[in-house]
Subunit: 97 residues, 2 copies
């Protein structure tokens, strides 16, 4: 699978993993996310793009600002697949409400 590559590339950077972690608490604007790091806006925007291309986040525009949100489906799929792929026992995610 092609996304496989993009996802692991995306996860390779600590800043991007931290962004994902922040997004796990709910959606945030690009500005909010950027303010949490000591990086310029262009750099952060680049990270957002990488995460988005990997399918790990989605974005939505509201007025002048852009909201980013975690998209867990790809991550769940990739991690579960890796887990299984490597033959590491059962991978259970109890998705039952």
């Amino acid at each position: 699978m092609k996304n496989f590559d993009l996802v692991f590339k995306a996860l390779a950077d600590p800043t991007r993993r931290e962004v994902l972690r922040m997004l796990s608490g709910g959606e945030r604007t690009a500005g909010e996310l950027s303010d949490a790091f000591e990086l310029g806006r262009p750099s952060m925007s680049h990270h957002f793009a990488v995460l988005k291309e990997a399918g790990l986040v989605r974005s939505r525009r509201e007025g002048t600002q852009v909201y980013y949100a975690l998209d867990t489906t790809v991550l769940e799929d990739v991690l579960a697949r890796l887990w299984d792929h490597l033959g590491l026992g059962e991978f259970r995610k109890e998705n039952q409400p």
Copy 2:
């Protein structure tokens, strides 16, 4: 945790992930692993070193050849932690919003 970075860096390369996959079937010699790729031995040796530094594989020498084996403990830990860290569905415990 420091290993976190090393593990994700290690997983970022497709060749290294494929090596891990091969090792999921049991230990292999450096030569056997190298023969499965169109890369020079030095390149493969470098990949082995990266995997080893990340704690994903261990090695053992037998005569002139070196056997590599998957070490699942770190991977299990890191993936489970990531899963949990990102607040995805619960990995091993019950749900409570």
